[in-house]
């Protein structure tokens, strides 16, 4: 009785072990894919210009832009960057009739688009350089 069970179970064990390994590899694959979720050839997004490993806080390579996006140091923003030079609620990017506008929310250190400080609201064009705190982004609009 035991011998038969053991003979059957040895195949079961191998199947289970390989399914286990496979499911973990799948999870890791999804995890790696999740690091760059934005395909670089479509939509509107902010692209990081700084080299990622020069910044001492977590920042992604790409940030997709929706209709209304807040950027700041606080956790309730859509784009959270823990840079000490960025205010809690730093800026807002709004979409209005297929045009994107950047609004500075009275941040302490200001927002610069192509080197000029944003006083109130400014329209964004494809290829604009946005700098906030120590971070610099490229605005990409492919629509």
């Amino acid at each position: 009785m035991f011998n038969i069970l053991s003979l059957v179970f040895k195949y079961v064990f191998i199947v289970i072990i390989y399914m286990f390994i496979f499911s973990i590899i799948k999870l890791i694959y999804l995890d790696i894919k999740g690091i760059r979720p934005i395909p670089a050839d479509s939509g509107t997004y902010l692209k990081l210009i700084n080299r990622k490993d020069t910044l001492p806080f977590k920042v992604k390579e790409y940030y997709p832009l929706e209709d209304n996006v807040f950027l700041g140091r606080g956790n309730d923003n859509e784009i959270v960057i823990k840079d000490p030079y960025i205010s809690k609620k730093h800026l807002r990017i709004v979409k209005d009739e297929d045009e994107y506008f950047l609004e500075d929310l009275k941040s302490a250190n200001g927002t610069y688009v192509n080197g000029d400080r944003v006083m109130d609201v400014v329209k964004l064009n494809n290829g604009d350089r946005i700098s906030v705190g120590q971070v610099e982004f490229l605005f990409v609009n492919k629509e």
């Binding site: 040895k10 289970i16 806080f57």
Partner: protein, 409 residues
């Protein structure tokens, strides 16, 4: 992110299924000698592992895979040990449970306390103290002095020193700029490592010498700015390897049995040839649990557990175990790359290298690919010290996998 909870269930449940079937089979195998406490211990181990994985996936923000992989490895190991030796299996259940408790304890302690990178001197002193204690109080066990027993509990200090050494190397390279200013600051670490290797030579624990040397060499290769020193170190280690071959007769024996084990099949080559027979006996799918003869191999539950796994559960399972180690080491490297805190970055790298080197040396040894040195497979082999220290190392790795804020305002 939404289907995250669903995804993690699959490997966890597979692990649970594997353990349940294997335990059931083991109870069938020992059906005449079964008592109630064994059943309770076995079932509670399955429960502990399942619950720990569940809790871990809820509370930690870091890596969720390493603990899963390790519990799978430990489960394969415990089933095999339990089948080989009833009492050892029973003890191993306790070691694994203690290991998991220590894992969580290490996780919370290391995470809560700051300033681990400043304790360079203390890591050194603790290691040297443990080495001296081993030499003075230790007892000789198969040619090597590496056990000390205090009040009936015996343990291997080298297992703890491995972790201390990683922390020490990491704290040294984190504060490298400060050490560089001192006159001999560049040579502090290399001096201390040679001291460690010297102590290990005195203990004649050559497996550990190999582990320490490769660990140190790997981290030095990555972090040391002085490239000539790295090269000099490699030359010195090669030379001392040759010296070891000339001085110690049991190194020569290991080397000769590696070149041609069949010539010494009755004496010194017995162990390795039995291991090779066992692996070939198993074939791809193995003989089935309880149907092979892994007990022909001396020391089967410690160094040669891999041969026993190959014999009874098949080479495919053996490959599976190697793959699990590969994923574990890969995750360790990935954790190290993502970590911004330099100290924990080096520690994560060191721990992954430790797991990788250790498993490579023993897998290579039992299949006669490299000369055999008696060390344990982390998480799989029988042995309290090795199990506990591996779980402590894993706890540190778990901390390193999280985002440790260094620029908090």
């Amino acid at each position: 992110m939404l289907n995250r909870g669903v995804n993690y269930k699959i490997p966890r449940n597979l692990l649970f299924l594997f353990e349940s079937i294997a335990l059931f089979l083991m109870f069938m195998y020992y059906r005449n000698a079964l008592d109630r406490s064994t059943i309770i211990y076995g079932l509670s181990l399955i429960f502990i592992i399942y619950i720990s994985n569940l809790i871990l996936s809820k509370i930690v923000s870091g890596d969720n895979y390493i603990f899963l992989i390790v519990t799978m490895l430990a489960s394969i190991g415990i089933i095999m040990i339990y089948r080989i030796n009833y009492e050892q299996g029973f003890k191993q259940i306790i070691w694994i449970s203690l290991g998991i408790v220590l894992f969580f304890a290490t996780y919370f302690i290391v995470k809560r306390i700051k300033g681990w990178e400043k304790l360079f001197l203390y890591y050194c002193l603790a290691s040297v103290f443990l080495f001296l204690a081993t030499l003075l109080l230790g007892r000789r066990f198969k040619g090597a002095i590496n056990w000390i027993s205090i009040g009936g509990i015996s343990f291997q200090p080298t297992e703890i020193i491995k972790i201390l050494a990683i922390l020490m190397i990491a704290s040294y390279y984190t504060n490298y700029d400060r050490f560089k200013e001192k006159k001999w600051g560049r040579y502090y670490l290399i001096g201390i490592m040679y001291l460690f290797v010297f102590f290990l030579f005195l203990q004649r624990d050559l497996g550990s010498v190999l582990i320490f040397c490769s660990l140190f060499l790997a981290l030095q290769y990555i972090y040391d700015e002085n490239r000539k020193l790295v090269l000099a170190n490699i030359v010195v280690l090669m030379f001392s390897g040759l010296l070891g071959y000339v001085i110690f007769p049991h190194v020569r024996i290991r080397f000769e049995t590696w070149i041609n084990p069949w010539k010494y099949i009755d004496t010194i080559g017995y162990q390795i040839t039995q291991s090779l027979f066992a692996i070939s006996e198993g074939g791809f799918f193995g003989t089935g649990l309880g149907l092979g003869h892994p007990d022909f191999i001396p020391e089967v539950s410690k160094d040669f557990i891999f041969s026993a796994i190959c014999e009874e559960m098949g080479i495919l399972t053996g490959i599976g175990v190697i793959m699990l180690f590969m994923i574990l080491v890969y995750r360790g490297f990935k954790i190290s790359i993502n970590q911004r805190n330099k100290f924990f970055r080096i520690v994560a790298l060191g721990i992954s290298i430790l797991f990788g080197i250790q498993s490579f040396i023993i897998f290579g040894g039992v299949i006669n690919m490299i000369p055999l040195t008696g060390i344990t497979i982390p998480f799989v082999s029988y042995g309290g010290s090795s199990m506990l220290s591996s779980f402590i190392a894993l706890g540190i790795l778990q901390v390193a996998s999280e985002e440790l804020d260094i620029e908090e305002d």
